[in-house]
Symmetry: C2
Subunit: 666 residues, 2 copies
C-alpha cells in the first residue's frame, strides 16, 4: 500500500467573532475566513490587487510579496488576508468593516395591473391546485396510487394526463393515506419543450384541509445585490421583498474577479453555493415573516447577468472572459429547484431568463420585456448601468445590444471616497457657483461616510458646470476656496469636512477619482453611440431613453447630461424604470406567455461585440471629456456654460488615458 503524506492542518481563530476554521497548512487567511463564514472584504477576488483585505495576524504565517501595506501597518502586524498563508495555528483580528454590509436599498415593484402584460394570470396560471376526492383502494379496485390519482384528476377536473417524478412518488403512498384520500394536488400546467406543451407535472400532494396557498418567487440576482420578491399567485401581488448583498462578494466585487475565483480548485462550487445561500437566506426571511412554508413556493423566476446565471447553475464561466467571450448556454436548461438546492418546493420549476451574450444577460432580456421596448413603435434606447453598462437599441421590429465595461466607479469602487449606496453615502450634491460650497444629501440622512455613484456623478457635473474642473477633469488651480487643495495624491475637492463626517475625516474627490469616473461615463456613452452608428441611426432621433437597473434609479438626468454620461436629449425622453430585471422576472413568474416573449426577444436580438467593432475606441476617446470632445453634441450644456461665462474649450491639463478593457484575451 502506498502511503499518502497527510497535509498538516492548522486552526485559524477569528476575532472578534471567535469563529474557528480548520484548514490545511498553506491555505490563505482569506480561504479560512470564507470557510468559516467570516466576512473579509476582497473586492479583487483574492488576487492581491486591491489591498482591501487587511487583517492582523498572530502566529506562524508565510507572506507572499505585495505592495499594499505601509511600513507602519506591517509593524502593527497587518497582513493581506489573500496573500498570507497559514503555517500553523493563527489568530486573526478582522477590523470593523469600512462600510457596513447593510441590505441594499429596497426595490419597489409595480402592481400587476400596471404591467405591460398581455396575459391574464388568472385565466392562464402556470401552476394550479386542484382539490381531489379519491376513492380509497380495495381488493376489487387495486389500481396503484399514482394511476388512482390520475383517474380522479381526469374524472373530477378533466385533466387527462399527469407526470410525476421520483421525489413525489417516493412520498405519494404516505401522502395519500395521511390525507385520507382527500388531497390538494398542485400541478405545473404549462411545461413545454421547444414549443410543445407537456402534460401537467405533479409538484405537490397534500391534505385538502390545508387550503390552496400557492406562492412564487422572482429573484433579481445581481453581482452586488440580490433581491427576492415573494408573490402570492392568488392575487399576483408582491407580498414581501427581501434584499441582501450577494455573498459572492467575498470572492470578488465584480464579475471578472468572480470568474477568476471560479478557476480555483473548488472555486466554482463555492460561488454556486454562495449564490444559493444568498437567495436561501432571503427566502428564509420571507418565509418566516410571511408564515409561508417552503413547499408552498411552487415556481421561481431568476434574472441575472450571464456570469451570475452561469455561477448559479454551476456552469463554468471561464470562457465568458476569454476572447471571443462565449457563454456555455444562453437559454438556461429546464430544471427544478432541488437541482440547485434552493429553499423552495424541490420540484418547483426554475425559469432562468435567457441571455444574449457573455455581457448581455438575462437581466437585460428581462428588462427589454418589462420596459415594453420589445413591443414599442418608438426608436428606443434601453440602458442598464452598473459595473458593466448594457444597452439595447431598437423597437418592436429589431433589437441590437451591446455591453461595455464601466468599471466599478458607479458603484463607488476605484474612487478614494467611493462607497456603495448604503446609509451615510452622499447621493445628491449641488455646488454653489459663487461660493463653490457644496450642499448634499445622504442615504437615510445619516452622517456622511463617503460618496456613492449617483453622488459622484452629481459632484463631477457640478464641479464642471461651476468651473472648478475643466473639460479634462483637471482642477482650476486659481480658485479662492479652501475646498480645492493639494492632497496626498494630487489636487482634490473636499466635499465634506471632517467635522461633519461620520468618522471625522475629510471626504474629497481627487483628479484621479474624476478620471476614473470619466472613463466610466465615456464607456457608457461610447457604447450607446456605437450602437446607433452600427445601425445608421442618429442619437438625436432616439425617441425614448429608458434607464433600468438599481443604479439608474438614482441618477439625476440633468447632471448626467452635464457630465456627458447621457446624451443631450430633451428631459421628457428619459424614463427611469427602476429594477427592470426584477420586474421582468416577476412578469415571467406570473405569465406563461412572458416566458415565451423573453425567448423571442433573446432570439431576435443582435449582439454587437464592441471588441470586434473599430468605431468603439474612437467614440470612447471622444467621450473622455466633460461633456464630450465635440461640445456641439451637447447643445444644452454648451448654452449653460456660455451663460455662466465658462469656456468649455479650456483645458487645465491633458485628459486621462483610456481605461483598459476588463476582458482578457484567450
Amino acid at each position: 500500500m502506498t502511503k499518502t503524506r497527510q497535509t498538516p492542518r492548522a486552526t485559524v481563530t477569528f476575532r472578534p467573532h471567535g469563529t474557528v476554521a480548520h484548514v490545511p497548512a498553506g491555505a490563505t487567511i482569506l480561504d479560512a475566513a470564507t470557510d468559516a463564514g467570516v466576512q473579509v472584504e476582497a473586492p479583487c477576488g483574492g488576487q492581491g490587487r486591491c489591498g482591501r483585505c487587511k487583517v492582523r495576524a498572530e502566529g506562524p504565517v508565510v507572506l507572499r510579496p505585495h505592495a499594499h501595506l505601509t511600513p507602519a501597518e506591517a509593524d502593527a502586524g497587518f497582513v493581506l488576508a489573500c496573500q498570507t498563508l497559514v503555517d500553523g495555528d493563527v489568530t486573526v483580528t478582522v477590523p470593523a468593516p469600512r462600510e457596513r454590509r447593510e441590505q441594499p436599498r429596497g426595490h419597489a415593484i409595480a402592481q400587476p395591473e400596471a404591467l405591460p402584460l398581455t396575459c391574464d394570470w388568472r385565466q392562464d396560471p402556470a401552476v394550479r391546485t386542484f382539490e381531489v376526492d379519491i376513492e380509497p383502494p380495495s381488493l376489487l379496485d387495486n389500481t396503484n396510487d399514482f394511476d388512482r390519482l390520475r383517474r380522479a384528476l381526469a374524472q373530477q377536473h378533466g385533466i387527462k394526463e399527469v407526470r410525476a417524478e421520483l421525489p413525489i412518488l417516493r412520498r405519494l403512498g404516505h401522502d395519500l393515506r395521511a390525507a385520507s384520500w382527500k388531497v390538494n394536488v398542485t400541478l405545473e400546467m404549462r411545461d413545454w419543450v421547444y414549443g410543445t406543451y407537456l402534460p401537467p407535472r405533479l409538484i405537490r400532494v397534500y391534505p385538502s384541509a390545508f387550503g390552496q396557498r400557492s406562492m412564487g418567487v422572482a429573484v433579481d440576482l445581481g453581482t452586488t445585490s440580490v433581491v427576492v420578491y415573494l408573490v402570492d399567485f392568488s392575487t399576483a401581488q408582491v407580498v414581501d421583498t427581501a434584499g441582501a448583498y450577494n455573498k459572492q462578494i467575498s470572492c470578488g466585487d465584480d464579475v471578472i474577479s468572480r470568474i477568476i475565483y471560479a478557476k480555483r480548485d473548488g472555486g466554482l462550487g463555492r460561488l454556486q453555493r454562495l449564490a444559493v445561500e444568498t437567495i436561501n437566506e432571503l427566502l428564509a426571511e420571507l418565509q418566516e415573516r410571511n408564515r409561508v412554508e417552503l413547499y408552498e413556493i411552487h415556481e421561481v423566476a431568476v434574472a441575472g447577468n450571464t456570469t451570475m446565471t452561469h455561477l448559479l447553475l454551476g456552469l463554468d464561466p471561464r470562457y465568458l472572459r476569454q476572447e471571443p467571450y462565449i457563454p456555455t448556454v444562453s437559454v438556461p436548461p429546464k430544471l427544478v429547484a432541488g437541482e440547485l438546492g434552493l429553499r423552495v418546493n424541490a420540484l418547483a420549476r426554475v425559469h432562468g431568463m435567457p441571455a444574449i451574450g457573455s455581457y448581455v444577460g438575462g437581466d437585460i432580456t428581462a428588462g427589454v420585456v418589462s420596459s415594453g421596448l420589445y413591443a414599442t413603435d418608438k426608436l428606443t434606447v434601453f440602458i442598464d448601468i452598473g459595473t458593466n453598462g448594457e444597452m439595447v437599441l431598437g423597437n418592436r421590429d429589431w433589437l441590437v445590444a451591446c455591453a461595455c465595461s464601466a468599471g466599478p466607479a458607479f458603484e463607488g469602487g476605484g474612487v478614494g471616497c467611493g462607497m456603495r449606496a448604503t446609509a451615510g453615502a452622499v447621493e445628491d450634491v449641488w455646488v454653489d457657483s459663487r461660493t463653490l460650497e457644496p450642499t448634499f444629501r445622504t442615504v437615510d440622512g445619516a452622517a456622511p461616510r463617503g460618496i456613492c455613484g449617483s453622488g459622484l456623478i452629481d459632484l463631477v457635473a457640478e464641479l464642471f458646470m461651476t468651473g472648478v474642473i475643466d473639460k479634462g477633469g483637471r482642477f482650476n488651480r486659481g480658485l479662492a476656496t479652501p475646498r480645492v487643495r493639494e492632497g496626498v495624491s494630487g489636487h482634490e475637492y473636499v466635499a465634506v469636512w471632517g467635522d461633519e463626517s461620520a468618522d471625522g475625516c475629510d471626504i474629497a474627490v481627487s483628479e484621479n477619482d474624476i478620471n476614473n469616473l470619466l472613463r466610466a461615463k465615456a464607456a457608457v456613452y461610447a457604447g450607446v453611440s456605437t450602437l446607433c452608428r452600427s445601425v445608421g441611426v442618429d442619437l438625436a432621433d432616439v425617441e425614448q431613453f429608458l434607464i433600468g437597473g438599481a443604479f439608474g434609479e438614482y441618477i439625476d438626468v440633468e447632471k448626467a447630461i452635464h457630465m456627458g454620461l447621457l446624451p443631450d436629449l430633451p428631459p421628457q425622453r428619459f424614463k427611469f424604470l427602476g429594477n427592470t430585471s426584477a420586474l421582468g422576472a416577476y412578469m415571467a413568474l406570473l405569465c406563461v406567455n412572458v416566458r415565451h416573449e423573453v425567448l423571442d426577444v433573446a432570439a431576435k436580438m443582435t449582439y454587437l461585440e464592441l471588441s470586434a467593432d473599430n468605431t468603439f475606441m474612437d467614440e470612447y476617446t471622444s467621450a473622455l471629456f466633460l461633456p464630450h470632445t465635440d461640445i456641439e453634441a451637447f447643445p444644452s450644456v454648451a448654452e449653460l456654460l456660455r451663460a455662466a461665462g465658462i469656456d468649455a474649450a479650456a483645458a487645465h491639463h491633458a485628459p486621462g488615458r483610456p481605461g483598459g478593457t476588463v476582458k482578457e484575451d484567450a
Copy 2:
C-alpha cells in the same frame, strides 16, 4: 440552549474478518454487521423468527427473549445477531456461512436474430452517436457553445432540436474545447412522454477521436439473484453477463421480509443502496472485463418484481403488503441513472419494466412480451415460479394474471436439507422403484451439501411414484429400506448418506419438509386453475404452457406433473423459456417499440387478486395432495400408478394444514 443527550457509542469488532463497526449503544449486532458490510445470514429480515443469524458475542450485550438457541449454544456464547443489542464494546465471531454465497447459475440469452422482435434495432436505435465538426467561435460569430453544437447537428445531420440537462452543460465548454471542436455527440433519439416524442437529448459529448462505442445494460433484478447483461448496440449482441446474489438478502430472504425491513428507520434507504450496490458491482466487473468505460453505457433496462422495482427506486413498499396490496406506481417514472446512483453514464435513461399489480411485476410483463404470449393466437399459460408464483393466461386479445405465495420451498427455504441451486445442491433425483435407492446429480458435480428446489420436486415425485410416500405425503412405514427412518422431527427419507456428503452428515427429507413442498406446489397449481376458472377456460384446453424464470429452467416436467405442480398436459405443450424477464429487458433495451409494447401489455392485462377470489382456497385445498385430490385431473399419473400397482387413493395419514398467506392485513 437545550442540551441533547448524546447516545453513547460502541465498537463492534467482527471476527474472523477483523472489520470494525461504530454504532450507537442499543443497535443490534445485525445492524452493526450490515453497517460494517459483514455478511450475517438473516432470511427473516431480523425479526427473530428464523434463528439463522447465530453468532458468538463477547462483551456487554442485552438479549431480547427468543426461542432459537439450545442451552448448549447459549452456554457457548451464541446469540441471535438480530435479537442482541450492543451495550458497550463487543467482539463478535461470525461462523462460516452454512452455504457459500456463490454466484447464481449463469443465464444464457438468445441472440437478437432469434428474438420475437418486430423492430430493426439498426434502423431505429434509441441512442445514436453523431460525429460533428463544429466551427470554433470568433468575435464575429460568438454564438454560445450549446447553440453552436445544435447548429452543427442541424447542418451536418439534420437534427433540428436537441435538449441538454445541467450535468452535461456544466462540462460542455470544457469538453468542446478539449476536443478542438471535433466531437462525437451521443443522443437519446427516442424519448417520449405519453406517446409524444421529445427532441433528442444529449447524453455525451467527447472527442471524435475516441470512436463511437455505445453500450447498454439489461438488468434482471431478482429477489434472490441479480444478473446484468452488457449489450453492444453496434451488434445488438450480449457481450458479457455477470450475476450475483442480491445484497438485500442480508435484510431478508424474500420480498415480505424486505418490506418489513424497509419500515425500519433508514431501512428503505439501505435496501435501495444495496440494490444499487449489487448492480454496480456487477457493472464494475463487466466494465473491467470488457474494458468499457462507465460513460460508454448509454441506456439501462431493468426488469424486476414490484417490490424489487419499488426498492430500487426508493419507493415505500409498505402498501404492497397491506391489504388491499397497492403499489405506488406501476409504470416507473422517467429517470436517468444518476438519480439512482447507477455506475453508468449519469444521463443514461433507465427503463423500468411496468408492473400489473403488487405481486405481478415488471419481470412478468417483460416475460409476457419476450415469451411472445402477447402476440400469439394460442390459448397460453405463462408461469414464473419462485418464492412467489406468477401466472398469466391469455393470448393476443386478452390477458389475465395472478400471483400466489409459494413460500421459500422451491428455493430450498423452510426445508431442513434445502439449499439454493449452488455447487453441491442435489438437483436431479431418481428413485429405483425396486430397491428404493436414489440416484442423483448435483450442481457442478460437487459433493452433495443439500437439495435445491428442482431436486426436491424430483425427490417428492419419485417417492410418491415408488410408493414411499402416499398422496398426503406420509411415509409408508412398512418398507424394507434403511433410507426411511424415524428422524429427530418424525419420519424421513435419507437421500444422501453422510459418507457421500460434503460435511459428513446425512441429507434427508422429512414429512414436514414434504408438507412444505406440497403447500408450495398447491399454491401454484391452484393459481393456474383459478385463473382458468375465472375466465371459464378448461385447463386441458391450454395450448401452450410456457415456463419462465430462473427456477423453471431446471424443472423436470414429467416429475412436476407427477407431484401435481404442473397440470397433466401432453409434454409437447410445455416450453421452458429460461430467463424471460431478462430477455424482456434486453428486448426493451434494443427496440423502442418493445418499450411501447410492454406498456400496452401492462395496460391490457387484468390483475386477479386471489385474496378477493373465493374459489382459490378450494382449489388450493384440493391441490394439497399428490398429485391432486381428484386423480382424474391427472390421467397420465393415474395410469402410471395403476401400472406400478400403487393405490393412489391410499393415505397413510391426514394431509398437512394449508399454509397461511404471506401478506398482512391492513
